[in-house]
C-alpha cells in the first residue's frame, strides 16, 4: 500500500473537487431518498384510503387550516438566497486561501505529460477512449449524451412524480438516470482520476504509479474469437463487416425485444402512453447506455477490442 501515492492523487489541487463530489453526492442522494421515502409512504396511505385522499393536503410537511399557502418572497426567499450567497462566498474564500490553483511548467509540445489527462469533468469520455475509437468516444458519445438528455422530457410520458420526490411512481426513469449519471458518468470520472496512471494503465488506489510498467496484453477482435466449431475465426474482411453488423444489429434487436417484453408485462401503463417513436427512441438510448458496460467488460475481462470491423470504421 503506497499511502504517499494515494495522498498525492487525492490532494492534487484539481482532484480536490472530485474528492469533494463523493460526499456531496452521497449527501444529496440521501436527502432525495429520505423525501422520496416519506412521499411514497404518504402515497401508499392515500391510495388505500380514498376518503383521506380527498381531504389531506397531500404533502409530507405539516399544514394546518388557516395557514397561508404562499409566503412572501421578501423576506422569506430572499433571506435564504442571501444566506446561500454568503455561505458560498465563505467556502470559496477559505478554499482559495488554503489551496492554490495548479500551475505546471510552461507548455512544451516536446514534453508529453504522462498521464496526460483531460479536465476532470471530461475524464469519463477519456476513459471511454480505452474501449472505443475516438470518433465514438469523443464525438458520437458527447452528442448522444446531449441529445439523450434533451429527449428525456419528450419520452418520459409518466405524468406522476412531477414536482415531488418519489421512487415508487418512477422506478424505471430514476433507475435509468442513476445508471447514466452515477455509473456511466461519475464513476468513470472516478476511474479516470484515481485509477488511471502513467500510460493510462490501471493502478489500484494505493498502488505506486510505475512509469516503467509494461503490460503484455494481446487484444483481439471478436471475429477472431469465434470458435472453430462455429466456423471461426473469420478471416475475410467482408465476412468481418457482415459479422459485426449482425452482432451489433442483433444486440439492438434482441435488446429491443427484451425491453418490449419488459414494458408490456411490467409497465403496461407506461407502454400504453408511449407512441411508437417515443418507445423506439427510449429503446435506442437505453440500449446504447447498456452497451457501454458490455463493451467495457468485453475489453477488461476477455481482451476483445473490436466487435465490428470495416475498412472505414471499427466499433
Amino acid at each position: 500500500m503506497d499511502w504517499r501515492q494515494l495522498w498525492e492523487i487525492c490532494s492534487a489541487p484539481d482532484n480536490v473537487p472530485i474528492v469533494g463530489l463523493i460526499p456531496l453526492l452521497a449527501f444529496f442522494i440521501y436527502l432525495a431518498w429520505k423525501q422520496a421515502h416519506a412521499n411514497d409512504q404518504l402515497i401508499g396511505q392515500l391510495e388505500t384510503d380514498p376518503a383521506l385522499a380527498k381531504t389531506h393536503h397531500r404533502k409530507t410537511w405539516p399544514f394546518k387550516p388557516g395557514w397561508q399557502k404562499e409566503v412572501h418572497v421578501w423576506p422569506f426567499l430572499l433571506r435564504i438566497e442571501f444566506l446561500a450567497a454568503i455561505i458560498v462566498t465563505i467556502i470559496l474564500m477559505v478554499w482559495s486561501i488554503t489551496l492554490n490553483a495548479p500551475l505546471e511548467e510552461p507548455s512544451n509540445p516536446n514534453l508529453t505529460m504522462n498521464p496526460a489527462k483531460a479536465p476532470w469533468y471530461f475524464l469519463g469520455l477519456q476513459e471511454m477512449l480505452v474501449y472505443f475509437d475516438p470518433w465514438i468516444a469523443g464525438v458520437v458519445m458527447p452528442t448522444l449524451i446531449i441529445v439523450g438528455l434533451m429527449v428525456i422530457p419528450y419520452i418520459d410520458t409518466n405524468p406522476l412524480g412531477s414536482g415531488y420526490y418519489t421512487w415508487r411512481q418512477r422506478r424505471f426513469a430514476i433507475s435509468v438516470f442513476l445508471f447514466g449519471f452515477i455509473i456511466l458518468w461519475v464513476s468513470m470520472i472516478m476511474i479516470g482520476t484515481f485509477i488511471r496512471g502513467p500510460g493510462w494503465q490501471w493502478f489500484w488506489p494505493g498502488q505506486t504509479w510505475d512509469h516503467n510498467r509494461l503490460i503484455y496484453e494481446v487484444n483481439r477482435d471478436l471475429p477472431d474469437e469465434i470458435p472453430r466449431w462455429l466456423g471461426g475465426p473469420i478471416v475475410s474482411n467482408w465476412a468481418k463487416g457482415v459479422f459485426g453488423a449482425i452482432v451489433v444489429g442483433g444486440y439492438y434487436l434482441i435488446g429491443g425485444g427484451l425491453l418490449y417484453s419488459l414494458f408490456r408485462r411490467r409497465m403496461a401503463k407506461d407502454f400504453r402512453r408511449m407512441s411508437l417513436l417515443q418507445f423506439s427512441i427510449m429503446q435506442f438510448f437505453l440500449l446504447t447506455m447498456v452497451a457501454l458496460p458490455i463493451k467495457m467488460s468485453l475489453r477488461l475481462l476477455w481482451h476483445i477490442k473490436y466487435v465490428w470491423i470495416t475498412p472505414w470504421f471499427n466499433v
Partner: protein, 313 residues
C-alpha cells in the same frame, strides 16, 4: 438684475436708497427664514423615505405591509424575476437544494474575478504564462483572485450537475417544463465549454496537454475530421478539418490560445447569458418553481390536466 434695478428705481439717489433698504430687508428676512428652513430640513431627515431622492429610487413606501413586501420584489429590476409570493414549502432547502441559484451566483463571481484577471493577462504565447506568474507573485491579491476563479469554476460544474440531478429526481422536466429542461441541458454544455476553454489560458503543461487530448478527439469527427470515418473520402486533411477550425491551426499554438481566450471571455459568456435569461424567464412562465407539489395518485394519472398552475400548487 441690473436692468431690473434701472427700470424700477428711475432716479439715481432714490434708487441707491432703495437697494440698501432692500438688502436690509433681505437680511432681516434671512434671520427668520434660515432657522425655519433648517428646522424643516431636520424634520425631513427624520424620515428619509419621504425625501424626493428616496422616492425617486424606490417606487414604494417603506412601511412593513404586505403590499410593500410585494412591491419591494416587483419594482426592483434585479429581484423582479421572483414572484411576489411563492409556495410556502418551496423555501425549504431540502426540496431545491438551492443549486440553480448557487450556479448563477458562481457565474457572477466568475464574471467578476474573470474581468479582474483580464486586466493582467495577455493571450499571447510570449506573455500568457508570465502574466500568470506575475499574478501569482506580484499582483496584490492576484493569487487569491486566480484561485477563486478556478475553484468557483469547478464548483459551478458540480453545482450544475447537482441542479440537473435535483430537477430530474423531482420530475421537474415534465409538462409544461420540457423546453426549459432543454435550455438547461445547453447551459450545462456551455458551462463545461467555459471551463474547458479556460483550462488552456495559463499556457502551462496541464492546460496544454488537456486541450491537446480534448481537441485531438475532433480529428476523429465522422465526415468532418481527417481521421474520422469517411473524413478522408471527403477530402479532410489536418489543415482544413473541424479541429483546424477549433484551434486556428494544426497544433495547439498561439491561435488556439487566442481563440480559446475569446470564446472563454466573450463568445460563450454572451451565449450562456442569453440562454440564462431565457431559462429564468421560462421558470416563471412555466408556472414558477415546480414544487413541492401535491403528490398525485396512480388513479389520477390519466385525468386531463388543468394547465401549468395545477402542477405548481
Amino acid at each position: 438684475m441690473a436692468d431690473e434695478n434701472n427700470s424700477s428705481g428711475s432716479n439715481g439717489k432714490n434708487g441707491k436708497v432703495g437697494v440698501i433698504e432692500r438688502v436690509k430687508d433681505d437680511i432681516q428676512a434671512l434671520k427668520t427664514d434660515i432657522p425655519s428652513k433648517a428646522k424643516e430640513q431636520l424634520e425631513g431627515l427624520k424620515d428619509p423615505t419621504k425625501t424626493q431622492v428616496y422616492t425617486s429610487i424606490f417606487r414604494h413606501k417603506h412601511d412593513d405591509t404586505p403590499r410593500n413586501r410585494a412591491l419591494g420584489v416587483l419594482s426592483n429590476v434585479f429581484l423582479h424575476l421572483h414572484p411576489a409570493k411563492i409556495n410556502r414549502d418551496a423555501v425549504r432547502y431540502s426540496y431545491t437544494w438551492g443549486m440553480g441559484g448557487i450556479t448563477f451566483y458562481l457565474f457572477i463571481i466568475l464574471t467578476y474575478t474573470g474581468v479582474l484577471l483580464m486586466f493582467y493577462y495577455h493571450p499571447t504565447k510570449v506573455q500568457a504564462f508570465r502574466d500568470v506568474l506575475y499574478l501569482e507573485h506580484d499582483v496584490p491579491f492576484g493569487k487569491i483572485l486566480r484561485n477563486m476563479h478556478r475553484w468557483a469554476a469547478h464548483l459551478m460544474v458540480i453545482a450544475v450537475w447537482l441542479h440537473m440531478f435535483r430537477v430530474f429526481l423531482t420530475g421537474s422536466y415534465k409538462k409544461p417544463r420540457e423546453f426549459n429542461w432543454n435550455i438547461g441541458v445547453l447551459l450545462l454544455v456551455f458551462t463545461l465549454l467555459l471551463s474547458f476553454t479556460g483550462y488552456l489560458l495559463p499556457d502551462d503543461q496541464l492546460g496544454f496537454w488537456a486541450v491537446t487530448v480534448g481537441t485531438n478527439m475532433a480529428r476523429a469527427t465522422p465526415l468532418l475530421g481527417h481521421e474520422g470515418p469517411f473524413g478522408h473520402q471527403l477530402g479532410m486533411t489536418p489543415y482544413n478539418d473541424v479541429r483546424f477550425g477549433l484551434l486556428g491551426g494544426s497544433i495547439v499554438d498561439a491561435n488556439a490560445l487566442l481563440r480559446s481566450y475569446i470564446w472563454h471571455c466573450i463568445g460563450i459568456p454572451i451565449v450562456a447569458s442569453v440562454l440564462m435569461i431565457v431559462h429564468f424567464w421560462r421558470v416563471r412562465k412555466d408556472g414558477g418553481i415546480s414544487g413541492p407539489a401535491q403528490v398525485m395518485l396512480e388513479a389520477e394519472a390519466d385525468k386531463p390536466r388543468r394547465g401549468p398552475k395545477a402542477a405548481g400548487e
